[in-house]
């Protein structure tokens, strides 16, 4: 008699619907987020990892109005979930001083299909760029400059 072995499912039964929406100084374990994003019904996980680009800078300093930024991120995650039928969303935005190559922002989404996962991830990053109160300052040898934000009348100073 042959016993059929069934491998254990790769989705997590213990965290369905639980998302990580955070603003923090610490880095994040991307592999752990990907693993946690796999839900029953997931067919695709999309990871967006925004990192500090080497634009001739030494470091980058990030600042947030956390009391407003965190609820905004939660609102964006909820809207993305509803509009793009996502099964899981994590958004982790870092603040503090970061070096070239460091992670700034992790967005991890899962959905039944790639179209929804890509669209949901794209929606989240664009909404963050539009309105979440977080700022970046590029620190160079000569001092630093604030990265100009976008607004309807053109870039700020």
């Amino acid at each position: 008699m042959v016993t059929k072995l069934r491998s254990s499912p790769r989705w997590r039964e213990d965290n369905i619907g639980v998302s990580m929406i955070r603003i923090q100084k610490e880095d994040v374990d991307v592999a752990m987020l990907v693993s946690g994003a796999k839900q029953r019904g997931s067919g695709a996980v999309v990871v967006f990892d925004g990192i500090v680009r080497d634009d001739g800078i030494e470091e980058m300093e990030l600042e947030a109005y956390e009391e407003v930024a965190l609820p905004e991120l939660e609102k964006i995650a909820k809207a993305a979930t509803e509009q793009h039928h996502l099964l899981h969303v994590d958004i982790v935005h870092r603040v503090g001083r970061l070096s070239v190559g460091d992670n700034i922002l992790l967005i991890v989404v899962s959905a039944g299909h790639r179209e929804e996962a890509y669209a949901g991830s794209r929606y989240i990053i664009e909404e963050i760029k539009k309105g979440v109160p977080i700022w970046k300052k590029e620190l160079t040898r000569d001092g630093g400059r604030w990265v100009p934000g976008e607004h309807p009348h053109g870039s700020g100073p």
Binding site: V68, I104, G131, P133, W135, G149, H153, S155
Partner: protein, 92 residues
Amino acid sequence: MSVKVRFFARFRELLGTDLITEYRQGTVLLALVHDIAGKNPDGYNAMFDEKGNFRDFVIVMQNGRRIDTMNAGNIAISDGDEIAVFPPVAGG
């Protein structure tokens, strides 16, 4: 009566942040921020135009809700309010 005024990013560097400010009854939001920013000409010029209005890119929140800066001269403040003033956001 007092309010907390918070500046962020470049405005914070020029003016400080988490400023607990006493105000007189009837003071409107625009006048309150004028008074505080007036202590540093660079800070003042960064957020106000030559007519004393908020520059069009400046974002102002009262208790976490964005207000129309064109109307800041008519907005009353209340004891314990938190006013936040900041330049366009650049997260992500």
